[in-house]
Amino acid sequence: MKILDDAVVGEIVSCPDCGADYEIASLDNGTVTVKVAESVKEDWGE
């Protein structure tokens, strides 16, 4: 997955192969840890 230079913890990145969404869990000295992002719920929005 491509992680942009200005990425921050909590940002969502998508896998270009399977399309799954991941949330950036930590950014430590260039090492990025991700976790599976929450799926969209009925109460999500603005």
Binding site: V8, V9, G10, I12, D43, E46
Partner: protein, 303 residues
């Protein structure tokens, strides 16, 4: 105040979008590093002494309405100013409550009826007349918002909702369909000021105008008539950071109706058609030590 005399602020989030990054950047440009609070990681007790380290003011930016409004309520009970307040979030998050307040206060809004069973839903639709629009009372991004053009379509949607097993789906919120041009107007209000107004055009062959669904934006002139209706809406809903959606009954007619107020507004699309930094104005509003503090009136109808 923090030790250096500057206000301490936080951003409550559950996923970081362009907006949260931009607001954070605007705080940093003003010499403030906002505390980023991931609502998904919070374990909140009602012991006030545990929350002395919370910022003085928190901007609520959760994608999940229920999560955001409930965390806001707990934070408020511990003396934190939350923007938007749980009261404002509660009004904006429930379309029925928004419509009630707007209608009662004389703010032009689409004619709305509500029914609470599949049987009465059809009668409600017939009372409004075809075509009409059926919406869930909670939810956003245009999801499950459907145009109902005839009786057969109405029956299909009512049956689908009735069989969903979700009690919220048994609340049938039905509005007249405004014969608007293929656009609506997204307005951003910060405090008592309208900071942006843009047209949102539907994607080709589509009916909905949501930018999340591919709609595009263009600048919209803030006419005195539009500003007047927006200021009335702010007064009714309460100050904070609001996304007020307006429709025109016909193009350039200055005959407006407010159809939705968003309490956790996305504004990337609006920013593309606006010169002034919306995120910058939000940061200034939160940092303004002179403004009157948002009243901590807890919502009495939390979900």
């Amino acid at each position: 105040m923090s030790a250096k005399g500057k206000k301490s602020v936080g951003i409550l989030y559950d996923r970081i979008r362009w907006e949260e990054k931009e607001i954070s950047r605007q705080f940093e440009m003003r010499g403030i590093a906002p505390v980023m609070i991931d609502a998904k990681t919070l374990i909140l007790t009602l012991d006030e002494s545990r929350y002395t380290s919370l910022p003085e003011t928190v901007l609520e930016r959760c994608v999940s309405y229920y999560r955001g409004v409930n965390v806001a309520s707990v934070f408020e009970s511990h003396g934190v100013e939350v923007v938007n307040s749980s009261r404002v979030l509660g009004i904006c998050g429930n379309k029925l409550e928004t419509s009630q307040l707007l209608a009662k206060s004389g703010v032009p809004t689409p004619k709305t009826v509500v029914a609470f069973s599949a049987e009465s839903a059809m009668q409600a639709i017939e009372a409004i007349g075809f075509p009409c629009v059926m919406k869930p009372i909670v939810g956003s991004w245009g999801r499950q918002v459907v145009p109902v053009r005839d009786r057969e379509t109405a029956e299909a949607f009512i049956e689908m909702r009735d069989q969903s097993g979700d009690s919220m789906q048994s609340i049938y919120y039905i509005q007249e369909m405004i014969k608007r041009p293929p656009r609506d107007i997204r307005c951003i209000a910060v405090g008592s000021e309208v900071v942006a107004s843009v047209y949102r055009y539907s994607p080709t062959d589509a009916w909905k105008t949501n930018v999340a669904l591919g709609g595009r934006t263009e600048p919209c002139k803030l006419t005195p008539e539009l500003e007047d209706i927006l200021l009335k809406t702010i007064k009714v809903v309460g100050e904070g950071v609001l996304g007020i959606d307006v429709m025109e009954r016909s193009a350039n007619s200055n005959d407006y109706v407010v159809h939705e107020v968003n309490g956790t507004v996305e504004f990337k699309g609006a920013q593309g058609a606006t010169e002034r930094s919306i995120a910058g104005r939000i940061a200034e509003y939160l940092l303004d030590t002179e403004r009157e503090r948002i009243p901590r009136i807890r919502s009495n109808n939390l979900p």
